[in-house]
Amino acid sequence: MVVMVDEDTRVIVQGITGHQGQFHSQAMMDFGTNVVGGVTPGKGGQEVNGLPVFDTVQSAVDETNANASVVFVPARFAKDAAFEALDAGIELVNVITEHIPTQDAMAFAHYARYKGARVLGPNCPGVASPPDGAKLGILPNRIFEPGNVGIVSRSGTLTYEMVGALTEAGIGQSTCIGIGGDPCPGTTFIDALEMFENDPDTHEIILVGEIGGTAEEEAAAYVTEHVTKPVHAYIAGRSAPTGKQMGHAGAIVTRGQGTAESKINAFKEAGVNVMDFPTDAPEYVKA
């Protein structure tokens, strides 16, 4: 089973003519990703990094047969961009943009479900599959190494840190999924766990959670019932106070809910190893 991306993923970049779109379309190609074009309304006919630019996603899909999209457009246009991609038949929409209104994020997450498609993000670094040489988003190319550890995370840099540590220790990764730090992500821990469990190339799973919400507790319950592979977890925010939003829109302990303690306990009860430091990952993974 393919975990989200592989060599058959044909990617367009929405907002390709912007700074981020230009930079990361090239970086994705450098990783090996089959980037086939980009979309910027009003700039159809131009080229960026040798890629054709289209006015609409539909035109891009008609011409390039794209099946995935990475969205770099500003927050207030992101819902339009995600809906446009989903209506044009895009199967995987990776929304990088942060500060998207929560109701917009909910709307496109559910519209994806209606369409039988998937949204990854918003406010997320994307997904990389080193063995397939395929990457969506902004994850740094050089930290990865092909291998068999699947990683799913709510945090970007923390994940890079962990992946970097694994690679340095000679432990490669099958797929690394950044689900993003917003309260209502399109792809959840459970979605990722299910994909990793079904992926023969993933042998062990690392989950990086943080305070806020109950996604980690739900993931722990899912692990107990459905996951047979070893799972290791790290939870950021053990020292965070109640009621304070720690950077990410979703990282906030409210009304006694969403504490690191609750998440760590849930994982321990589910038989998941919980790390003290993100740099400890190589010590937990058998590889």
Binding site: H99, H110, P140, S155, I211, G213, G247, R255, P278
Partner: protein
């Protein structure tokens, strides 16, 4: 952005949710101008963006003008949970028979709005047993329909007419929730008066911060945010003042939290969470250090993982800070990622501890903090 009670009340009235009439005054003089127009008794309610007003004496009942004036004098300027009361709302007193609780919030588990209702209103909802709170998701594709109202109210001890009124209030709350991009809309108590009318006797409305651009007509209250956090936020930097002394600068919210956790692991206490974010600009690093310095930390711990951001670019910014302004407190840095060797060299050349080992750096930072606490300086 949180709205003051009276702002929420105004949204309610606009949407057709029954709520008491009210008048907001910011001074006793302003009250004197309107005192004759009010119908007594009135309730004098402190307008602050925090709970626990009642216990703190911020809500008082007044039978007549003189009594109201006394209460207004007492409440204006009062401090509740660290916030100064600058406005009071004078609302008609209602004869409450039953107190319900009603709210709509974002249910992160289902990624849908969730309506909550309870018979047990008038108290903090956290104190109500879960089985007495009735919950139901509303899908934006269907909106709030008659069956939502039926299902939510069926277990409440209400007359048919009261249940109908409550359903009507919920439908309108949902409309506000959707149209105003709310993170939370709460009515506690949702009062049933002695003559069976259902009235919103309080309001708590939070607008999703990311959606504020769509609601610029709402002048939200400023929350209890320290000036330094506000300054940082205006510069687009995530900054949180914490209880401890150690200032942490890292890139990425997760890594910054993890760094604070590492300090705590070794017995240290974080004083500032500062997410440097991704940057290609040494000037941003400078801004971060300026903000951090204003928070007067005992030690600064810079933890960097260079992914897209290059470690040496950040190091360059740090060196500029040291050269141009200097730092009064010790700086510990831990650098990994793109161009990490060069970055560490630059910092070491500038006299800064620079390692690649998170644990060692965390331990060293905690030790330095303890030295400072012991009065020994760096």
């Amino acid at each position: 952005m949180k709205l003051y009670e009276y702002q929420g009340r105004e949204l309610f009235l606009e949407a057709g949710i029954p709520a008491p009439e009210g008048t907001v005054v910011e001074s006793v003089e302003a009250f004197d101008d309107v005192a004759d127009d009010l119908t007594y008794p009135v309730v004098v309610k402190a307008q602050v963006l925090t709970g626990g007003r009642g216990k703190a004496g911020g809500i008082k009942f007044a039978d007549d003008e003189d009594e109201a004036r006394e209460h207004i004098e007492a409440i204006l300027g009062m401090t509740i949970s660290g916030l100064t009361v600058e406005k009071v709302d004078l609302v008609e007193a209602i004869d409450i028979d039953k107190e319900l609780y009603a709210s709509i919030l974002v249910d992160r588990s289902n990624r849908l709005p969730m309506v909550m209702i309870s018979d047990e209103g008038g108290v903090e909802i956290e104190s109500v047993p879960d089985e007495d709170i009735h919950k139901m998701n509303v899908n934006p594709f269907t909106g709030f329909n008659a069956y939502h109202a039926r299902q939510l109210t069926q277990r409440l001890d209400l007359t048919k007419d009261e249940a109908k009124q409550v359903g009507n209030v919920l439908a309108k709350m949902y409309k506000i929730f959707q149209e105003r991009d709310c993170d939370l809309i709460e009515i506690n108590p949702l009062a049933v008066t002695s003559n069976g009318e259902v009235i919103a006797a309080d309001s708590k409305v939070t607008i999703n911060p990311a959606a504020e651009f769509r609601h610029q007509d709402l002048e939200g209250g400023t929350e209890d945010i320290p000036p330094l956090e506000q300054e940082a936020n205006e510069k687009g930097i995530a900054f949180v003042k914490l209880e401890g002394d150690i200032g942490v600068i890292a890139n990425g919210a997760g890594l910054t939290m993890a760094t604070l956790d590492a300090l705590e692991h070794y017995g240290g206490n974080g004083g500032v969470f500062l997410d440097l974010g991704g940057t290609d600009d040494p000037a941003k690093v400078k801004t971060c250090f300026e903000l951090m310095t204003k928070a007067e930390p005992s030690v600064i711990f810079l933890n960097l993982f260079g992914g897209i951001t290059k470690a040496d670019t950040v190091a360059e910014g740090v060196v500029q800070v040291l050269e141009e302004e200097g730092l009064d407190v010790p700086l510990v840095t831990r650098i990994r990622g793109v161009n990490e060797e060069r970055a560490r060299e630059m910092l070491q050349d500038a006299g800064v501890t620079a390692t690649q080992d998170l644990k060692a750096a965390a331990k060293k930072t905690v030790q330095l903090d303890k030295n400072v606490q012991a009065g020994g300086g760096a």
